[in-house]
Amino acid sequence: MSNQIIQGVLLGGYYALIACGLSFMFSVMRIINLAHGSLAVLSAYALWWLASRFHIPPFAGLLIVLPLMAAIGWALQRFLLERSARGGALLPILTTFGLAIVIDNMLFEQFGADTRSLAPFIGSLSYDSWEWPGSIYVGKLAVIIFLIAVALLGGLQLFLSRTGLGRAIRATSEDPDTSGLVGVDARRANAVAAAIAMVTVGLAGAFLGMRATFDPYAGAPQLLFAFEAAVIGGAGSLWGTLIGGIVLALAQTLGAQVHPQGFLIGGHAAFLIVLFVRLSMSGFSLRGLLHRPSRSAS
């Protein structure tokens, strides 16, 4: 049993990784990007393409793909989200949903329906494991993903609290008009935030491809996982996302124990229970990821 808990916690690291970009963008721009999962899968395909066509190992491929993802994030904000956000809160949902359909089907058109994986390109890392006391075997890759998730969340936290750019992003998320008055370029802050979010998405896509398989339509489940982890983690800090990811993964592990098809059901059920409890306790919002909810103006 303790074995399963450890595996669940490690899987939670992956969910935190894919969730942090979603909640980061939401807290800065108030936009839930429905193309989030599809963009992660796009990154996985890009790495797969580099590896199978040009023999570039995925970890080296990240040096090419992550800057590209940052550029995509910047362009996404400048050309799509900024414009559609001006039309109200509902339009960005429709725009990003349309974008997700375009990405999914372009990937299908380009790569076909076959499931792919990055596992063959990372050598023994995909199956190597360490033996921990109590004859528990943990996959090296799972531990690496977890550690990178923790490092990323910590780095993001430091960036937001210690750097000028991070402070500009936080100010913009708090009140774009007032921060504009004191000289913060809100457009630039938002575009940088979107670029950072897409880098995390690219990283999440890479690990999705290494630890499992993916196909052109794998984006939707990843989006749901990201959303569920972000909501379970709730408002507070980026670390909430990590807790949310771990809770989601543990619920899935538990679900799989109860019923052979219970893995996904367990995760969705945990999400709904948390949601229900949170709603009956009082107001709920994803807002306030970057700052204490009491200080948020709403």
Binding site: S84, F97, F108, H268
Partner: protein, 355 residues
């Protein structure tokens, strides 16, 4: 009479809209007798069109009028079909089962609305998607459905193919007409004023005493019921029930496309969008993936550059109202101009805010 020249006239319809009302009645009557003259294939396609109109109108009711964008409406489509399978399996006449099923879907959506309507915007949108994914998995557990293998509405086979086709056609036509009439009545009545007030500014509406949550709940349940009808009718036309097909997010993608292209928040726009989608599907559906890429790209472009859709733009440009659900305010000088050239569309309550 001199006072009248400064008092604006408030009216509900225009000469065009009265002609349109007659035209609608004629079109429905023609559609009702059409199966006599049409080939079997065309009858089937027309049934599909009616189902699309229902889907578009219901999604528009929720998003365009209630301000609730959901990407999980396929849950009601799938449940409409699933409950019909279940009821028919329990011995109910299959045609009765289609509508009994939709009523159950409506009933189920009520408690669901208690939780989901407390979510805002994107949270609601994707929260509904989670509900759809979970419902799909739970339906798969039903032994009758046999997981993704699916099952069929076998009891429909007692009717011969011709009777079945025409009956489903009429049921689809009647459902579409009834649902559109309910929505139209709702929007024209006092609830309609509340709905538009919420659409334009939720907080302001609440402050003047509009029952925001109750009104949204009404739209949520209506949309669930209507989409349940559509799912049950789709089952009747295709006979087979595979959960993966019915709980597919593609259905919501279609709804979004139809409403965005037609004109979100306009009654006629959803119908126009459904017709446009139907024609595109007829002509380009065979191109497979590129067709879906095109739909997604069109949704992006419309939301960015023509957020009012085709009908919204036509309405704005020409002041045309075929099926008016709002009021229009007209300056009295125009009343002396019976030629009807002085139409001022900018004062009507159906105008959307642009902010």
């Amino acid at each position: 009479m001199s006072a009248a020249s400064t008092t604006p006239i408030i009216e509900r319809g225009t000469a065009t809209s009265r002609i349109a009302a007659i035209a609608v009645a004629v079109i429905i009557a023609l559609l009702a007798i059409a199966p006599q003259f049409l080939s079997a294939g065309v009858v089937d396609r027309m049934t599909t069109l009616f189902i699309y109109v229902i889907l578009a109108a219901m999604w528009n009711a929720l998003a365009g009028f209630g301000g609730l964008v959901s990407v999980g409406q396929q849950v009601f489509f799938g449940l409409g079909a699933y409950f019909a399978i279940r009821l028919a399996d329990a011995g109910l006449n299959p045609f009765v089962a289609l509508f009994a099923s939709a009523i159950i879907v409506g009933l189920v959506s009520w408690p669901l609305s208690l939780v989901m309507l407390r979510l805002k915007n994107g949270e609601f949108a994707i929260g509904m998607w989670v509900i759809a994914a979970l419902t799909h998995l739970l339906v798969n557990l039903d032994r009758l459905v046999q997981g993704e293998t699916g099952t069929s509405l076998i009891s429909l086979n007692v009717y011969d193919a011709g009777t079945r086709r025409v009956t489903i056609y009429w049921l689809a036509l009647a459902s579409m007409t009834a649902l559109l009439a309910i929505l139209f009545g709702l929007l024209r009545g006092s609830t309609g004023a509340a709905i538009r007030a919420i659409r334009d500014n939720e907080d302001a509406a609440a402050s003047v005493g509009v029952r925001v949550t109750g009104t949204k709940r009404l739209l949520f349940v209506l949309a669930a019921f209507g989409i349940g009808v559509a799912g049950a009718l789709w089952l009747a036309t295709s006979i087979t029930f595979q959960p993966k097909t019915y709980f597919n997010v593609q259905w919501t993608a279609y709804m979004i496309f139809m409403v965005l292209v037609g004109g979100i928040g306009t009654f006629e726009g959803a119908i126009l969008g459904a017709v446009v989608f139907f024609l595109i599907e007829t002509w380009f559906g065979g191109t497979g993936v590129w067709y879906l890429v095109g739909l997604g790209a069109a949704a992006v472009l419309f939301s960015l550059f023509l957020p009012r859709g085709l009908w919204g733009t036509i309405e704005e440009r020409f002041g045309l109202r075929l099926l008016p659900v709002g009021y229009r305010v007209r300056l009295a000088e125009d009343a002396a101009d019976p030629a009807g050239n002085g139409v001022h569309p900018e004062m009507t309550t159906t105008n959307r805010e642009t902010a």
